[in-house]
Amino acid sequence: MNAIEIKKLTKKYKDVTAVDGLELSVRQGELFALLGVNGAGKTTTIKMLSCLTSPTSGEALLGGKSIVSQPGEVKRIIGVSPQETAVAPNLTVMENLKLMCGVHGLSKEETRARAQALCEEFELGEVVKRKAGKLSGGWQRRLSIAMALTGDPEILFLDEPTLGLDVIARSELWDTVRALKGKKTIILTTHYMEEAEELSDRVGIMRGGKLLALGTAEELKALAGKEKFEDAFVAIVKGEGK
């Protein structure tokens, strides 16, 4: 079964169509990168899939559950790291993790174990007692992603997870994401082409709310007739593909 089935998903705001008849399926355990220039509709797509905004029309099934008619069920199996780092500023790193565990209905023991495990996985040890609001942007982002994993989701949405991270932090985060590969279905958006090429199984390129191209990084390079993935992206978005 596909983890995600998107059918004619559309979102219109007053005068803009942010997402326009999107059709896409993502396999279980696949890491799918959603690319596109600013305003292409990536975040809006993620917001609809994570039941934050309801679609104007169309439908999507996550783990067989409908985002339109079964949002409660969908919310149980997803984890979201929003584009903006979303942490509780006056809580410590550990308290933030525990808050999210509690929100997902974990018991006290489970909460302790899960929060501890995530701290280790994301190497948050040295900042664990600091208030989240006082951390640097990179640390906040790491925490933000760890928080998305507290509910042990089947499907994980990462909206620009490495925005504002330094080179080292980014490569470490890539390792973390790689370690999740295969275990979780991941939808990732990014403006870093090498990130998409490095991590993803398949890439989708959006423009004006529509999916322009879909395939592995290799396939897209061949499609555009370019050596480098970044050049292929530019060619496809500008409509110069062969």
Partner: protein
């Protein structure tokens, strides 16, 4: 939900500015106005009417706390994240508002304890006064939920931080007898809940429970309206991310 409520309490209580304003300011005002009263006697500053009045003034800070926290959570996208979890609308609404009730009761208690030192008679009615702050606090907390749902952090600072605290102060009859100004000002003040909330507190302290009712009705009506509008506003922003 327990989890989320305790987070609300932590966010509010860990902010030293909040503590300073919420608990410190009413206490400082009680001390200051009593000192004035000692030199230039004014009936509204008599401790038995001042202290109950100050508990109501302190409530305007609860609106500010709730509204600030919610508006910040909306702007920082923390709420967006939480909306993608199994928490329900009721979890959010209670999680933001219930933790303020114990803070309100503490604040009222602190006002009265300060007043005891200034010679307020210790009677069992003080307990009634502290309890009777609840209807008014529902109004002020709901107003916080409402403002936090529709305003930005900056607007909350202006509207709840400056406008509401001043309205509460001027129109409640704590600072001066409304009769002294009279006219349209008094009429407006009588239509708003602030002076009624103060009279409920003063009557409860004085033990004149027969006099409470018309004022309490005003407060309850405003509280009910605030609850309805604030819940609607919260649900609306939740739906239109």
């Amino acid at each position: 939900m327990l989890n989320f409520s305790s987070r609300t309490a932590k966010e509010i209580l860990r902010d030293p500015v909040n503590l300073g304003f919420g608990l410190g300011f009413p206490v400082v005002l009680i001390l200051l106005l009593s000192a004035i009263q000692a030199n230039v006697p004014v009936s509204v500053f008599q401790i038995d009417s001042l202290a109950p009045g100050m508990t109501v003034f302190g409530l305007s800070f609860m609106t500010l706390f709730a509204a600030t926290l919610i508006a910040k959570d909306r702007e920082s996208a923390l709420l967006q994240r939480l909306y993608t979890t199994p928490l329900t609308a009721a979890d959010f609404i209670f999680g933001y508002t219930l933790p303020l009730l114990p803070i309100v009761l503490c604040q009222a208690a602190v006002c009265f304890v300060t007043a005891f030192f200034l010679g307020l008679e210790v009677t069992v009615n003080v307990l009634w006064s502290v309890l009777m702050i609840i209807p008014a606090s529902v109004f002020f907390i709901a107003l916080g939920l409402l403002c936090g749902s529709v305003l930005s952090v900056k607007q909350v600072g202006g509207i709840c931080g400056a406008l509401l605290t001043n309205l509460t102060a001027w129109l409640s009859g704590i600072w001066f007898d409304l009769e002294l100004v009279g006219g349209a000002f008094k009429k407006a003040a009588e239509l708003l809940p602030f002076c009624h909330a103060v009279r409920v507190e003063q009557a409860a302290y004085a033990g004149s429970f027969a006099d409470i009712w018309p004022d309490l009705a005003w407060v309850i009506a405003y509280a009910a309206a605030a609850v309805i509008f604030s819940v609607l506003a919260f649900l609306h922003q939740m739906k239109h991310q």
